[in-house]
Amino acid sequence: MDFTYDSEQNDLRDAVAGLLGRAYSDSEQRRRVTAADPGFDEKTWARLAEMGVLGLPFAEEDGGMGAGPIEVAVVAEEIGRVLAPEPFVEAVVLAGGLVAAVGTAAQRAAVLGPLAEGSSVLAAALAEPATRWSASAAGVTATQDGGTWRLSGVKEPVPNGARADVLVVSAVTDGGTALFLVQGDAEGLTRTGYRTHDGGRAANVTLDGTPAELLGDGTADRTADVERAQALARIAYSAEAVGAMDTAITTTAEYLKTRKQFGVTLNRFQALTFRAADMYVSLELARSTALWASMVADAGGDAVAAAVRARLQTSRAGRHVGKEAIQLHGGIGVTAEYSIGHYTSRLTAIDHLLGDGDWAADRLAATVDSYPTVDPLGAPYTG
């Protein structure tokens, strides 16, 4: 049982922190980048590729680095720390993760290689307007016409769906939910992109008899694969949220030390410093849970179960920290010209993308009566 990074993990963190710190050293740079499509910086994306970050979790034979959930969490936390808009979790962990889990060797090489090199952006088209954080498809159907599969239906909101070169789309087949690869320039594909409140991009993806390539062999139900890929993305989002909360708290503490009211700096007001202390408590408890969840996934434990717990803790903490960070700043906290509000916005978006705190709590509640106590170092978490 060891909560400390090894030297390789520390090197990775320092490298990513250095790169992103230069790219987004002040929030104006981020505002500029997010103001224009695709909502992130292609150059920074390319540098992340050079660093190997975009292939981090994939096997070396698939063009990846063969790293695991812990390294993914290291990167995600640094992304969150500066609110880097590059879609690491969305494109690499979730979309790429689906291909890595389900794709044939040929597909993995064909799709993950370019993704890792930065020459192809992936997006996971799982969400549908009428469902909610579901691992199985309902509104998009796949039919085979001759040799080729064709998809029809609507996916929305699809993070970075308009920019993506390749979409990983879940659809209903006779066998249940299957996954497909759809090229960005495929016929019968209409993508309408828009800004999300946190400065990112999402899209309505409408498929109308759109040709698609079945991911993996056969059409056995892939719901469990999607569930697990979503879980790994939830764990990565938890780390991203921890990074964002960390900066939000540091920024708030710094503001309290420098902002003057009634002739003294705000850190002279105990009611404010105590609330900052409570924010720190929320952060540290969330950090422990997020780290643990990445270790569970790394150790081959039940990542789906651990992800639900990490999601619940980081959701509650993210709301607490996001609200208080603005309130302790006062008026400047609600302006787009100052950084802190963007942290609250991003924490709010993360909270709603793959299942929020209530969603997680309800899942835990369903099984809470089936065991006496939770042992983080025992089954099912240590596999």
Binding site: R132, V154, T192, G263
Partner: protein, 391 residues
């Protein structure tokens, strides 16, 4: 103690409800209900409809268009307006500078400004807060120096709401830097926004909207007759102004409206084959919020009933504090009902995300302001601890 409204008050409430739901243009009310921003023209149109019926400034002196209503009538008027999604008369005109001029202005100023202020022919904005004077308003630095028949104003204001639409600004300026108590030595000046030396810089808010501005003054010459009331007594006028109509700040009607919308939308969101409106966790959450709001409304009614003398009841701070918390809780509820759809904030044509879900998150983020402006919740707690509990 009596629960029911008197027959007269029942009739009054019906009258208000009928007027607001039939006389104010539907298009404007729909836009408010959809939490979208009105155009300048729509603000003006709505207020002029109210003013034509004598419903824009009922709390003003009768000779200037007021109604001599009881506090309860004013409460009913406001709540019905909010429930009907009618935009309230511009606060800077109706609740702030208007009452100040009516109370402290000279006859010439009253005749010059009040009618146009009630009818929004003059759109006023507020020049109080400064970058280094937020909750600590009295430490403001903008100066006005007398030069012949004019005051010469230099400095900067911020958080000037809808300043981009304003014709005139009412401004707190320091006219006596030597006064030993910083509250003394402050005066209130009014002048047109197109006066030479006035420049405006929009401030973008976290929801992408443009509501507030910075206003810069560089050697702005203001004729002496634009001083409101007495020189160096501006702080008293500001306190009068901010204490005015404290009851409305609970915004119970507006929050009621948000919750009823949340209930509607919850029926349209289906999770695992069941509408969210049947989810026990959500209904319990709505029940708690609704009960808190009921308690707040009843407290507002108590305050109303006990503030017939016009002075703000000390419990007004409870209304502002809890009222802002419940507004924020209601907007958070809407985001959670929207769930993943809430990221589609700036979707337009080609999206299947309903409009209410698109605005939910920006509104939630925007509403973080309500516990900050108009006396932050920290200021309200200070008032409660100090003036009520004597701590």
């Amino acid at each position: 103690m009596r629960l029911q409204l008197s027959p007269e008050m029942e009739a009054f409430r019906d009258e208000m409800r009928t007027f607001f739901t039939t006389q104010v243009p539907q298009e404007i009310r729909d836009k408010i209900a959809a939490h979208r921003h009105l155009t300048r023209e729509q603000y003006v149109q709505a207020q002029q409809v109210l003013n034509a019926a004598g419903l824009a400034v009922p709390h003003w002196p009768v000779e200037w268009g007021g109604k001599d209503w009881t506090p309860l009538q004013r409460h009913i008027w406001r709540e019905e307006m909010q429930l009907a999604s009618v935009p309230e008369p511009l606060a800077f005109n109706a609740s702030m500078i208007g009452p100040v001029i009516a109370a402290f202005g000279n006859q010439e100023q009253k005749e010059r400004f009040l009618a146009k202020t009630a009818d929004l022919e003059i759109w006023w904005c507020q020049g109080f807060s400064e970058p280094d004077a937020g909750s600590d308003l009295a430490s403001l630095r903008t100066t006005a120096v007398r030069d012949g028949a004019d005051w010469v104003v230099n400095g900067q204001k911020t958080w000037t709401t809808l300043g981009q639409y304003a014709d005139w600004i009412f401004c707190l300026v320091r006219t006596d830097p030597t006064a030993e108590k910083k509250q003394r030595g402050i005066s209130m000046l009014v002048f047109p926004m197109d006066t030479p030396g006035v420049t405006l810089r929009p401030i973008e808010l976290i929801d992408g909207g443009h509501e507030v501005n910075e206003v810069f003054f560089e050697d702005v010459r203001v004729p002496a007759e634009n001083l409101i009331g007495e020189e160096n007594r501006g702080w008293d006028y500001a306190k009068f102004l901010l204490g005015n109509e404290r009851v409305g700040i609970a915004r119970v009607g507006a929050t009621k409206k948000l919750i009823s919308q949340a209930k509607e939308h919850a029926r349209d969101v289906v999770v695992g084959g069941r509408p969210l409106s049947e989810d026990p966790r959500l209904t319990a959450r709505i029940a708690e919020l609704e009960n808190e709001l009921l308690a707040l409304e009843l407290t507002a009614l108590r305050v109303v009933a006990n503030s017939a003398d016009g002075k703000p009841h000390p419990a007004s701070s409870v209304l502002k504090l809890r009222g802002s918390e419940l507004q924020q809780a209601a907007t958070e509820l809407l985001v959670d009902i929207a769930g993943p759809l809430s990221v589609a904030s700036f979707a337009d044509g080609g999206s299947q995300v309903p409009d209410w879900a698109r605005v939910a998150a920006p509104q939630y983020l925007n509403y973080r302001k309500v516990s900050i402006y108009g006396g932050s919740n920290e200021v309200q707690r200070t008032i409660i601890a100090g003036t009520i509990l004597g701590l």
